[in-house]
């Protein structure tokens, strides 16, 4: 292993430590990741985690950090602990200077005139932004196959899905193309990709991280959160991203604090953990359940008090979600009308604005997006509103009450993150309902607004399994504490981290025709 391949396999906090100690420079570290992206992301059998790579800006920011550190003094002292550690950004989060497509033809080549608040925070803390990661179109999907710019491959098995919608960010973690990334989680889009790639993803409490600048799907469910390889890295990134933002009226006024401290605590003595009766059993692969049961045993042996709790209304959560989410999405996506931004398609015969909109949206949106817009329009339409959207909102109340009741008995809840390991590319693409069932264990947290995290739980038939922890609203710290406690004990048992066992990837540069590289297949296109 060369020095730079060892470098990219460190955790983000280890990288930060080496930067502070002056053992490495941010330019070296950033270049090592750019080299890795060039080596494994492109080509026919490449991972394809990135839709756009941002080398010049990333290296410039890295050089700034290095210069500040070299100069020393107050400015160097004031650097954020993660300064100089590179990061990737999911492509539904807007960035100045890089295209933002949301994985959609509608926004192909679109350049945002402003930065998302989380991106502003990354810039202030001087984390070099490596590029924008692939996703299901407008974050709608569980496999990243709904991206208009091609699917992402799972580094554990190139013929399997990396999860979704944030498959790009998670695959970038598992293939060491980035140590940290941003994700968005509306029904599991951070956690499920984490589970099936053997990495970590956390959905903060709703409002814990500003959503200003994320292209909205379902506003009462969407939440930006950290994607990482370790629980501590995720906690450190959430601390950087979190806090009140006047530009997001749903953002919590009080910051969620002590996350990294909690993730550094491994003691679970007396911690009360509840197994959710409804989130295991039918529909869950046996291998997933085996790893889950082992995780529970480990926590019990470590001194946690484990009981089983029932949340009887969770069985209706999936149905409620697939009414609320499309309803809100149909409204949010109405803005893509080919007038103010995005690509306009004029019918051959020309036409009025209405006909232009119809043609623009027909050409710009993919199948899954159209399906959800139609579904949402239906659920909101006169005569059906009460039966569908209204009923779903009542179920939301019942799900929240179930969680309130559960959290009166336990500190955190535990379940498998996803009912299955990564399935094959193309396996569920023609069966929307089967695809929706991926989210059965992750959706309830979005409905209730509570935080959730997925941590690696081991392998089933060679593929990663995720274990999910849920905590009460604003209880992100205890969630990180429980997740870190499991993580460290599993790592002790394995002798290494799960992601360190991921198969080596071939350098795909040798297998592709000359001149076809990552930079050439950017979805961004030219800045118009």
């Amino acid at each position: 292993m060369t020095e730079s391949t060892e470098l990219i396999r460190l955790t983000a906090l280890q990288m930060a430590e080496k930067l502070r100690a002056g053992e490495i420079t941010s330019v070296e570290l950033t270049q090592a990741h750019l080299d890795r992206i060039a080596a494994v992301d492109g080509g026919e059998r490449g991972i394809h985690a990135f839709l756009h790579v941002n080398p010049d800006e990333a290296l410039a920011v890295a050089a700034e950090v290095d210069a500040i550190r070299a100069a020393g003094g107050a400015e160097a002292e004031a650097l954020h602990p993660l300064a100089g550690v590179p990061v990737a950004v999911k492509d539904n989060i807007v960035t100045v200077g890089q295209p933002t497509t949301a994985g959609s033809r509608m926004l192909e080549g679109w350049m945002s005139p402003y930065d998302a608040t989380v991106v502003t925070k990354l810039r202030r803390a001087r984390l070099p932004i490596l590029g924008k990661t692939n996703l299901d179109e407008f974050a709608m999907g569980g496999s990243t196959e709904h991206s208009a710019f091609g699917n992402t491959r799972n580094p554990w098995d190139l013929d399997r899905i990396p999860g979704g919608s944030g498959g790009g960010s998670a695959a970038a973690m598992a293939s060491f193309m980035a140590p940290l990334a941003l994700g968005s989680d509306t029904g599991g889009s951070i956690r499920q990709p984490g589970a099936v790639t053997g990495t970590v993803g956390a959905k903060p409490t709703y409002g814990g991280v500003s959503r200003y600048g994320v292209i909205a799907m379902a506003s009462s469910l969407d939440q930006i959160g950290p994607v990482a390889r370790t629980v501590q890295d995720a906690a450190a990134l959430q601390e950087l991203l979190g806090g009140h933002d006047a530009k997001d009226s749903t953002s919590l006024t009080e910051p969620l604090e002590g996350l990294l401290t909690a993730a550094r605590q491994h003691d679970v003595t007396g911690l009360r953990i509840g197994i959710v009766s409804e989130l295991k059993g039918e529909g869950y692969q046996e291998g997933v359940l085996e790893r889950f049961r082992e995780a529970v045993t480990i926590l019990r042996d470590a001194g946690a008090e484990v009981i089983e709790v029932s949340c009887p209304h969770l069985k209706y959560a999936l149905g409620a979600y697939y009414l609320i989410m499309p309803s809100e999405a149909s409204s949010n996506l109405a803005k893509f009308d080919g007038v103010r931004y995005g690509n306009r398609v004029v019918p051959e015969e020309g036409g009025t604005i209405e006909q232009v909109m119809g043609a623009t949206r027909a050409a710009g949106f993919g199948e899954e997006v159209k399906r959800r817009i139609i579904l949402g329009t239906y659920a909101l339409s006169a005569g059906y509103y009460d039966a569908y959207y209204g009923s779903a909102q009542k179920i939301r109340t019942l799900v929240q009450r179930d969680f309130d009741e559960a959290f009166s008995k336990v500190d955190v809840l535990i379940s498998p993150t996803s009912p299955t390991t990564a399935f094959g590319l193309g396996e569920k693409i023609d069966d929307p309902l089967a695809m929706y069932l991926n989210d059965v264990a992750t959706i309830p947290a979005n409905l209730a607004g509570i935080p959730g995290i997925s941590v690696p739980g081991g392998l089933a038939e060679g593929l990663p399994v995720g274990v999910q922890f849920l905590a009460p609203a604003r209880g992100d710290a205890v969630m990180y504490r429980a997740a870190a406690a499991l993580e460290i004990r599993l790592e002790e048992a394995w002798g290494t981290q799960l992601w360190a066992q991921a198969p080596d990837l071939d350098d795909t540069r040798s297998t592709q025709p000359a001149g076809v590289g990552t930079a050439d297949r950017t979805a961004g296109g030219e800045n118009r």
Binding site: G342, K370, Y378, T397
Partner: protein, 98 residues
């Protein structure tokens, strides 16, 4: 509740301003029927006594000081428009004919 029909989908596609061809309408109505079947139970669970939740963490009276902040320039706002003219978005004809 009635099942979702092909005519329903055609109507909804018009409401949502998405042009769909015959083939798409066939495919979409079949898929939506399956999905609606799966979620239909939702309407039978909660009674009138259960209040709806529209927002997971209720916040009320979210205000800020009424002071002008940073905003996009006209140029920035129009930079990515499909068509702009004289500092304005240019839209296709609203009405049919001349």
């Amino acid at each position: 509740m009635s099942a979702i029909t092909r005519e329903d989908v055609a109507h909804l596609a018009r409401l949502a301003h998405i042009r769909m061809d015959e083939q798409e309408l066939d495919k979409m109505s079949g898929e939506l029927a399956v999905i609606m079947d799966a979620v239909a139970a939702v309407s039978e669970v909660a009674g009138d006594d259960v209040p709806p939740t529209s927002h997971p963490i209720p916040l009320t009276n979210v205000f800020r000081e009424d002071e002008p902040g940073e905003m996009l320039s006209q140029e920035q706002a129009l930079a990515m428009a499909p068509e702009a003219e004289d500092g304005q978005f240019r839209v296709p004809a609203i009405l049919e004919g001349e």
